[in-house]
Amino acid sequence: MSEEKKPAAAPAAKPAKAAAPPDPRVVAATALADEIRASIEARHGAGAVEETGAAKTIPMIRIAPDKWRDVVTFLRDSEDHRYDYVELMAGTDYKDYIELVIYLYSMKRDAYITVKTRTPRDAASLPSLTPVFPGVNWEEREVYDLLGVHFEGHPDLRRIMMWDEWKGYPLRKDYSDFDNIPTRGGEPR
């Protein structure tokens, strides 16, 4: 018995060791995210930011869904931020909610930031960013097509990869309807 207990104690020591030196890049990114949070909250109220942290080494801010467009517009236009270039937009189904993330870059300040927001899976809906960044038009259409997020205020929201008769959202985790794919004529195979 005592022999069996010894290896059980060993892994318990490991996490403590790993937690001891935090990555300085992550610490710096989190600190920067907190700074940006303060600046957003000064403008849009205390409830605008729900979470801060770091995505690997990039500052991460999670925004309340109803403030999504306002805060991103603020990050683009404010003199302190000037995040004027969208590098990436991606949606992910986390089973409890759908998360939309954009990676922003500031041409002027050479700085990066990750901004996210969450929306419930049933009745997934978010304000569209296309009026702010015309370059996310198709990205939002893709998220709508494959993940089923409705974008409020999008000028041209329709499927982009799948055809119009397609049922369901393929990138959702519970999507398994491969056998009932409608054909071009709209009838199941």
């Binding site: 990039i58 590098e87 991606a90 015309p134 370059g135 990869m161």
Partner: protein, 367 residues
């Protein structure tokens, strides 16, 4: 006097049209010869790569990336393994990094060559397309020798590359460089000053800097407007900080600048290959990587300067050996959005000239 009555007409181009570079459909509304509206329809090549990746281990995804931008597959390979390596903080053997840079830059040259040929073909000049295939064939042969495939390379691995260069391969690349430089001069002399070509592309499809940034354009589409934005310099990945090269920028953001940037970038790529050949060390080509690759839980995004722009891979991991979600930032897909804006008000005859200069590969647009 009454004005002449005109009627709008809808013209469908594609999806199977030789000038759309693949299966791409464009529905244009024309009034006489003038384009009133253009609606690109994509998705004909959609294979669900992102969905497929969710049930594949990281090494198994690499061949799928070959099928995205199939004329620059080495860069796609690298974009994926680079994100995995970044997530795992892996050290890559020096020789592997050099080999990667050599094949990536050669692939960029091959891809740009194909652009030049195909663009001229779009504009009605048949022979340049056949000419550039001679040099492209040499590069493809070199790739065939190093990885056994001409188009779908599957060459990179997490932690390095699959094969070391076979004996004599580096010398062959070295011999290829002066030949390629000479041919570039010839093509330049044949094409760049051609009166007919110039009058088709000068001042055509102009993109301003503000538009380029707002539309998230990247690569040559962005640089042709004069913005010095190249990820190899802005955020040097791999060993790109070791090489001296210039970021090629345009001035006017028109079709000619986009063509011209492709040309000049080939020279810069050859310079990088030359420097890499000079200092490539001996050693292993694959680092110590666990057999089953697991990324720590979290989300990761890195991007590289692909042949067509910012090529990025976003991975959400839950700590397992397969990605929970993988999103590909495909430059062709993002760049193509500006097309409908560029076409409005243009003459119908200019449509192909503008589409061709955006430089898309449909495998990448549709993923």
């Amino acid at each position: 006097m009454e004005t002449l009555h005109s009627e709008e007409m809808i013209l469908n181009i594609g999806p199977q049209h030789p000038s759309t570079h693949g299966v791409f459909r464009l529905v244009v509304t024309i009034d006489g010869e003038q384009i009133v509206a253009a609606d690109p329809v994509v998705g004909y090549l959609h294979r669900g790569t992102e969905k497929l990746a969710e049930s594949l281990q990281y090494t198994q995804i690499i061949p799928y990336t070959d099928r995205l931008d199939y004329v620059a597959a080495m860069l796609n390979n690298y974009a994926l393994v680079h994100t995995v390596e970044y997530a795992m903080d892996l050290e890559i053997p020096e020789r592997a990094e050099y080999l990667r840079v050599i094949v990536m830059e050669l692939n960029r040259v091959a891809s740009h060559l194909l652009f030049v040929g195909a663009y001229l073909l779009d504009l009605g000049a048949m022979s340049p397309f056949l000419y550039v295939f001679q040099e492209r064939e040499m590069i493809v042969q070199l790739f065939n020798e190093i990885c056994g495939a001409r188009l779908t390379y599957n060459y990179m691995r997490v932690g390095g590359v699959k094969w070391d260069a076979p004996p004599g391969w580096l010398a062959k690349v070295r011999d290829f460089l002066p030949h390629m430089r000479e041919k570039l001069k010839m093509y330049d002399a044949l094409i760049s000053g051609n009166e007919i070509f110039l009058s088709r592309v000068r001042g055509m499809g102009v993109i301003t800097q503000e538009e380029a940034v707002a539309y998230s354009l990247s690569g040559i589409n962005l640089r042709s407007t004069g913005l010095r934005f190249d990820l190899r310099k802005k955020r040097p990945y791999g060993i790109y900080d070791k090489f001296a090269f210039d970021v090629v920028v345009g001035q006017n953001g028109d079709c000619f600048d986009r063509y011209w940037c492709h040309f000049l970038e080939m020279e810069q790529s050859l310079n990088i290959v030359e420097q890499a050949l000079e200092s490539i060390p001996d050693g292993p080509v694959l680092g110590k990587v666990p057999k089953l690759i697991r990324i720590p839980a979290g989300e990761y995004y890195t991007s590289i300067e692909g042949a067509r722009g910012e090529l990025g891979v976003y991975i959400v991991s839950d700590g397992k050996d397969k990605p929970y979600r993988m999103k590909l930032r495909r430059p062709s897909f993002v760049n193509l959005q500006i097309l409908s804006k560029l076409l409005i008000g243009q003459n119908m005859a200019n449509m192909i000239a503008i589409l061709g200069a955006v430089d898309i590969v449909l495998g990448e647009v549709d993923a």
